[in-house]
């Protein structure tokens, strides 16, 4: 502990956290955490989800207030009450969700956060100064480009540029690589190195130990709200870090092949093309087959036509070339209604916006599954008794406890909403279930409930099309994984034979041989 004290007051230490404790209802998120950031280092904060990394940096940035402990910046104790205080101390943080305005240009977005922007400004001068800064830090940004046209990696660099021009010297990144594809991660790490060379100090959060090993100078590992230890990256090995992150037990990625061979083709897309809508890519000669008793995964970086693929399957997006077959019949021009009636279930991300009516009760939302079956006399009378029976049965069948019936959907948690959607969609007679990022943003238990339900569907001989960004999820559930890039299927893998780096290359277009 004496050593810590020494480094805390030493000139090289820019940030020192001592005994930080933060309790949320039910969780001790940070338990007497000590942490030091040295001048000009890249410091990785490594740990599993829920290890308390995010909480710690948010306390440093003034978002949360620690219950106990002290913060020293440049050796002086400080009270950081808000992000504004943090910024005044030269701290800057890049969040997971960006704070950029899509309709504005890079220059305008940066200018908005500049404190010393003149009352009247010339866009040209602004663009020049931003271009200069962008070149200085190796960010390669076009100041004139509207942000909505930028890739996620570029948007992240705009966020960074905002902080740099606002005078931040200590940079914090909350899981910066989560949204990036492999080659963008490499580019980001090169930026980190160039910043380090110019004297900036960097903290970045990650749960991927290879990233920590490849880029950081020092690594602090957290587990269950505590710091397990800090070590030099040079001295660390994968095994030692894994041991620190998880303790004795290592999590296993288990694959669970289906117990029976896939059957008939449920869904087939043959050379399907669509027209581009807005900035989203069009599907380009997509070929795809989903058989009964098979889970087919679609991997890809968000925004490469996954949503469009889902919409095509559901009949919401018009097919301009090619054919779609459902249960052997030509379904190219079927309406969504016909497809739903013939047996397509749909489990989206964010059910509140895509699957349930917020103002309806859980029971009413459930009734939307098949209004015709639940009503009598030309639809003038609803048979609520029947709805209730199906509602309860649906939950029991999936091994879930039924949600209360009269509760408004808008008051349910994300996990419960997804359970409601899942039960509703899988209660009707269906042959194919389409999951569009169905576990995104869910807590672990709810996500597992969704995955479990998909496995059960496969056991029952249904076809499953699972669109996801989570490679681990795809490779543990699916029988086949297709990779989509800019509206094209660019590769197909069996999970047991797959090489993740190859998949990553394909997802980013690096592996497309006949690039257009």
């Amino acid at each position: 502990m004496d050593e810590d004290r020494l480094t805390c007051e030493s000139d090289k230490t820019v940030v020192c956290l001592r005994g930080i404790t933060k309790r949320f209802p039910g969780v001790l998120a940070n338990d007497h955490v000590d942490f030091q950031l040295q001048s000009g280092e890249i410091h990785a904060l490594l740990g599993e989800n829920g290890a308390g990394k995010s909480t710690l940096v948010k306390i440093l940035y003034g978002f949360y207030h620690a219950d106990a402990g002290e913060i020293l910046v440049h050796g002086r104790p400080v009270h950081i009450r808000s992000p504004r205080d943090a910024r005044a101390l030269g701290l800057g943080m890049v969040f997971q969700g960006f704070t950029l305005i899509p309709a504005m240009t890079v220059a305008e977005n940066v200018a908005l956060f500049q404190a010393e922007l003149p009352r009247f400004f010339s866009p040209r001068e602004l663009e020049q100064s931003i271009r200069a800064a962008s070149d200085q830090y190796g960010l390669a940004l076009d100041p004139k480009a509207p942000v909505w046209q930028l890739s996620i990696g570029e948007q992240q660099r705009v966020e960074l540029l905002k902080l740099l021009l606002a005078g931040a010297r200590i940079l914090i990144f909350d899981e910066p690589t989560k949204v990036l594809v492999p080659h963008e991660v490499e580019a980001l790490f090169r930026v980190f190195e160039s910043l380090r060379a110019q004297g900036f100090s960097i903290i970045f959060i990650t749960h991927k130990l290879r990233e920590a090993l490849s880029c950081a100078d020092r690594i602090t590992v957290m587990r269950q709200g505590r710091v397990v230890g800090t070590l030099l990256a040079r001295a660390a090995t994968e095994e030692s870090l894994l041991h620190m992150m998880f303790g004795e037990k290592l999590p296993e990625i288990t694959r669970s092949p289906g117990s029976r061979a896939p059957g008939e083709v449920v869904l087939e897309l043959r050379d399907v093309c669509t027209r581009p809508v807005g900035t989203a890519p069009a599907l380009d000669h997509v070929n795809l087959k989903v058989r009964a008793g098979e889970i087919v995964g679609i991997a890809g970086v968000s925004g490469n036509g996954q949503r469009e693929l889902g919409d095509v399957v559901l009949g919401l997006l018009r097919i301009v070339r090619g054919k779609k077959f459902f249960l052997g019949q030509d379904a190219t021009s079927w309406s969504p209604r016909q497809l739903v009636r013939r047996g397509i279930a749909f489990v989206p991300e964010d059910p509140l916006s895509m699957a349930v009516v917020p103002g309806f009760s859980t029971l009413e939302n459930f009734a939307l599954m098949d209004l015709q079956a639940f009503s009598k006399f030309l639809g003038t009378v609803m048979n609520w008794g029947k709805v209730r029976t199906f509602f309860r049965e649906g939950f029991t069948k999936l091994g879930l406890s039924p949600l209360p019936e009269p509760v408004r959907a808008s008051t349910l948690s994300g996990g419960n909403l997804q359970r409601l959607t899942l039960v509703r969609e899988l209660s009707r007679p269906y042959h194919l279930v389409v999951g569009l990022y169905p576990t995104r943003g869910l807590d672990v238990r709810s996500a597992n409930a969704v995955r479990q339900a998909f496995l059960v569907a496969r056991e029952q001989g249904k076809g499953v099309l699972l669109i996801s960004e989570d490679l681990q999820e795809l490779f543990s559930l699916c029988d086949r994984v297709l990779v989509i890039f800019r509206g094209r299927i660019v590769g197909e893998f069996r999970p047991e034979e797959a090489d993740l780096t190859e998949v990553g290359r394909l997802m980013t277009g690096a592996g497309v041989l006949h690039g257009s």
Binding site: L100, P118, F120
Partner: protein
């Protein structure tokens, strides 16, 4: 030829009372507020300017007071939508009712009267009656580039647009969305009322109930047509000014077409404009338009 010249001349004159509210609405919508109450604000402006100009025998005083009343009236709207987080469309319609009713009350005594009008002058010496305008017409056309400069070349304009796109991000950048929206609403209130005032004491010199005849709503359509750009608003206002004048001229010619059918021209044109330009405004229309901002927690 003479007919053509007077058409052009009249177009510019009739574009002005549309340009004022359109510019005001552009600023307001750029800050994220849809205000359907323009019609009411214009009527208030028209009736107040007429009453004051009648009482003081000075049209400029009328315009000035109208501007102040417009400002105050639109602050009601701003308070409702900013502080009480009311539905913007409903609050705008409430303002419309308010303006229609109050202007009728104010104007009751002045129906059929004449008030002094703004002095007219010509930018260049030429034929007697063409291209003679009051100062407000020149102001209107100068105001458009000024608004453009404000929105796209000043720090305040940047902040205002940021509020219109995302109040939360603007707040994170140290901007107060509430303050910006109040300022935008105040400006729009003044401009809309001056637009109405120009109709009453600039063009007609009379007051009649509902005399703005839906110009407030046409202005809102023009905002969409102009893609929230003050410079394009000039084109829109001229287009509609020309439709109004054409209709007046056709009536004067006595072509035997019912005046009611001719009166339909500007509205039909507006609907057509909306049909052609009202689509695909993503990344053009301010993103937070019409949404209630509940503040950052």
């Amino acid at each position: 030829m003479n007919w053509f010249l007077s058409w052009i001349s009249g177009t510019i004159l009739y574009a002005a009372p549309l340009l004022f509210p359109t510019l005001g609405e552009v600023i307001e919508q750029r800050a994220g507020l849809v205000n359907l109450g323009l019609e009411g604000l214009m009527l208030l402006g028209a009736s107040v300017s007429f009453a004051v100009s009648f009482a003081t025998q000075n049209a400029w005083v009328g315009v000035l007071v109208a501007g102040c009343v417009g400002l105050l009236a639109n602050l009601i709207y701003a308070w409702l939508v900013v502080h009480r987080q009311a539905h913007q469309l409903a609050a705008g319609l409430a303002l419309m009712f308010f303006g229609i009713g109050l202007s009728a009350l104010i104007g009751k005594a002045y129906v059929g009267q004449m008030a002094p009008v703004l002095p007219k002058f010509q930018p260049f010496p030429s034929q007697a009656l063409l291209f003679r305008y009051d100062l407000l017409v020149y102001v209107a056309f100068l105001l458009a580039p000024l608004c453009w400069f404000l929105l796209f070349r000043t720090r305040f304009g940047l902040k205002l647009r940021a509020v219109g796109e995302s109040p939360a991000i603007a707040y994170a950048a140290g901007v107060s969305p509430a303050l910006v929206r109040y300022i935008a609403a105040a400006t729009a209130g003044i401009l809309a009322a001056i637009g109405g005032a120009h109709l009453a004491v600039g063009i007609t010199g009379t007051w009649s109930e509902g005399m703005t005849a839906g110009r407030g709503f046409i202005a809102i359509a023009l905002v969409i047509f102009s893609r929230w750009d003050p410079l394009r608003a000039i084109i829109g206002a001229l287009l509609f000014g020309s439709a109004v004048v054409l209709q007046l001229q056709l009536q004067a010619q006595g072509l035997g077409i019912s005046p009611f059918l001719l009166d339909m021209l500007p509205y039909v044109l507006t609907v057509l404009v909306l049909l052609i330009w009202g689509r695909g405004v993503r990344y053009v229309a301010p993103a937070s338009l019409g949404r209630v901002y509940f503040g950052t927690e």
